[in-house]
């Protein structure tokens, strides 16, 4: 009976997929939804591909999954990934549907799946991945993810014992996961920019989990990312088997040491959090047995998806549109740190309101007090535009961060903000949330038009 139910679900999901595609829809979630409705144990019943790699964690899941999937494809493997779809159980069920033929036989070489950490309990026990990459664990949306300990407990409970883990040795939180599982760690050696006392507002792993003593850091990169030890009881960070020993920003390369071998890879993106994502991908690909030369060669052609990072020109102004996930204080802080550390006179345009909540509710703004807006307190930042319905909250937040009122432009309408902001600037950083991506693209279009016109008019006058 179960087998019949499974095949009905599989065929229904494939049919729904075809119909939705004919209608021009993405069909990344609904086929899986139908499959799970008809056959609740669909994930467990679907025959798995020869290799299954999953990626979870608070930040960097999408980028890391895409890198792994792209490189395995470039290496000639036939893979299915949920890169354009949902990372919850329905999205994974849709991906599984694509991985088998109508007779339920696997038709691909490998499944590469991004898995939402909160939904992992509904996914990982059933698909039993060969490898699970955990990029990191931080605090995230309080309504969905509560706090890091809660997410840690889900992963610690539901990841199968047979899964080999690829963990970030520098993330004090996620590196403690599932001590019984086989594992390999990756990490970045001390950098010149590292510190030993936390400069962020939030460090969710500052006390020893064994004896409550304040941890000491050999080096601390951001939040709880670093290398720590307890001066009282001997607790310490794990050693990494894959160590990034050098970052060459000039030549855009990174050096990774594994055992006695050091290899130089192209740097996909210069932001440190993306370097972690690349290192995670290199580690799992190496463990998986991917051809190192091919990985190196294909890393050259990888780029961070344009929905997350894009550079363009608006007249003489260089516009950098980058994601700063709203309601995710750590992800947003990484972007604020990146923007704050850039050089030269610049403007920052912040539009990270949650577009879904603003439709019929009101966003809870507590997270902005965990995000390091203090990084924007720099004399080179000439104007900070806070736009959208929550702009008054952002203005107050910036004032508490010590930023002068003269620097802040507060405007509820994002498009009107473009009209009235200063246009004589070399660089403009446009920060948006995942939910405001489409809106940010429209604002970006207006910036290009208005800035170009304003600068041309000024040039004409001169």
């Amino acid at each position: 009976m179960g087998k019949i139910r499974y095949f009905i679900a599989l065929w229904a999901a494939k049919l729904v997929y075809l119909l939705l595609r004919v209608l021009g829809r993405n069909a990344t979630m609904y086929p899986g939804y139908i499959a799970l409705k008809l056959c609740p144990d669909y994930l467990g019943r679907t025959k798995k591909s020869p290799h299954v790699i999953c990626v979870t964690g608070t930040n960097g899941k999408t980028t890391t999954t895409n890198m792994i999937a792209d490189i395995l494809s470039e290496c000639g493997m036939n893979i299915v990934s949920n890169r354009y779809g949902s990372n919850i159980n329905t999205g994974v069920a849709t991906a599984l549907t694509h991985s088998v033929n109508v007779f339920g036989k696997p038709k691909i070489d490998a499944l590469v799946l991004e898995v939402d950490e909160r939904f992992s309990r509904l996914i990982l026990p059933f698909i039993k991945p060969d490898y699970l990459v955990v990029t990191n664990l931080f605090r995230d949306s309080l309504k969905r993810n509560a706090h890091p300990e809660y997410i840690f407990s889900i992963l610690d409970t539901y990841v199968p014992e047979t899964t080999r883990l690829v963990l970030n040795a520098d993330c004090l939180q996620s590196s403690q996961l599932l001590k019984k599982n086989e594992r390999v760690y990756f990490g970045i050696d001390r950098l010149d920019t590292d510190v030993t006392e936390c400069v962020n507002l939030i460090n969710d792993f500052s006390i020893c989990p064994v004896c409550d003593e304040k941890l000491e850091f050999n080096y601390l990169r951001y939040h709880h990312i670093g290398n720590a030890y307890c001066p009282k009881c001997g607790f310490k960070s794990f050693d990494a088997q894959y160590r990034l020993t050098n970052i060459d920003y000039e030549n855009k390369t990174i050096t990774v040491k594994h055992g006695d071998t050091e290899d130089v890879y192209p740097m996909v993106n210069r932001a440190i959090y993306n370097i972690y994502n690349e290192l995670a991908a290199i580690t799992v690909l190496s463990e998986f047995g991917a051809d190192k030369e091919k990985v190196m060669a294909h890393m050259n052609s990888i780029s961070v998806t344009q929905t997350r990072y894009k550079e363009l020109k608006a007249g003489k102004t260089e516009v950098i549109r980058t994601m700063a996930k709203g309601q995710n204080s750590v992800s947003c802080s990484r972007t604020l740190d990146f923007v704050g550390n850039e050089s030269g006179p610049r403007t920052v345009f912040i539009m990270v309101d949650d577009l879904f909540e603003r439709r019929d509710s009101s966003e809870f703004m507590g997270w902005i007090y965990d995000a390091d807006f203090e990084f924007l307190n720099s004399p080179d930042i000439r104007q900070i535009v806070v736009a959208g319905p929550r702009c008054f909250d952002y203005k107050l937040r910036l004032r508490i961060a010590g930023i002068s009122e003269d620097v802040i432009l507060c405007e509820e309408d994002e498009f009107k903000a473009v009209d009235i902001m200063d246009k004589d600037i070399d660089k403009l950083y446009l920060l948006h949330d995942t939910s405001t991506y489409d809106l940010a693209c429209k604002v970006e279009e207006k910036i290009v038009t208005v800035f170009t016109q304003a600068q041309n008019a000024k040039g004409g006058e001169q």
Binding site: Y150, N203, S362, M365, G366, F392, D393, R399, I400
Partner: protein, 235 residues
Amino acid sequence: MKIEVLYPEICCLFGDKANMRYFEMCLPQAEFIKTPVSEMPRFLTEDVDMVYFGSCSESNQERILSRLKGKEDRIRELLDKGVIFLMTGNSFEIMGDYIKKPDGEKIDALGIVSFYAERTIPKRNNSLFLGKFGDMEIVGCTSRFSHSYEISEGNAFINVTKGLGANVGCKVEGVKHNNLFGTYLLGPFLVQNPHFTKYLMSLLGVENPTLAFEEDAFKAYEVRLAEYKRDIVFE
């Protein structure tokens, strides 16, 4: 004026740290003591004017309880003297009689105020909140794995106008006992409620209190208040 911030390294979820950061800006003359979890609270051996606790994880809540068990008489003594205890998020649950876990186990709490809490893990209870404390309109948000029950009328902090109270359907939110103010509202409670912040400052003896960035704080508050009074989704 001495204000003790207890265990800021673990009682700091959801933006709660902003409360004392902002209060420090409002009260530059006050001494703020931040006591880490590895040390005993200063209020046990010194006179303080105010104690603050922020939101914490469930395991840290139990860790804090184990630190404070046996210190109930001193807490009662301070409350009788009028010392302010401000507790945001789930932190005030430690002041009740017990906390019941989903498996039925009861954790003895401090028994300072008569009520109990019950955890609902993994069900997360999220809600915007609008209520009244005296003639002050209070705005905020709650997001928690628990509810509180059997809060007497005399021990209720805020009357619910809209949103989730102490438990589903409850018309009061949080506890008040002398100058103990415990609320499930979390995050930057004082930043978002300028009237209440001024009220606390006056309780501390500040005459004609003025907030840091007062105009901006009131503007953000008024925009939020007007929004919450409209027909928007609260839960």
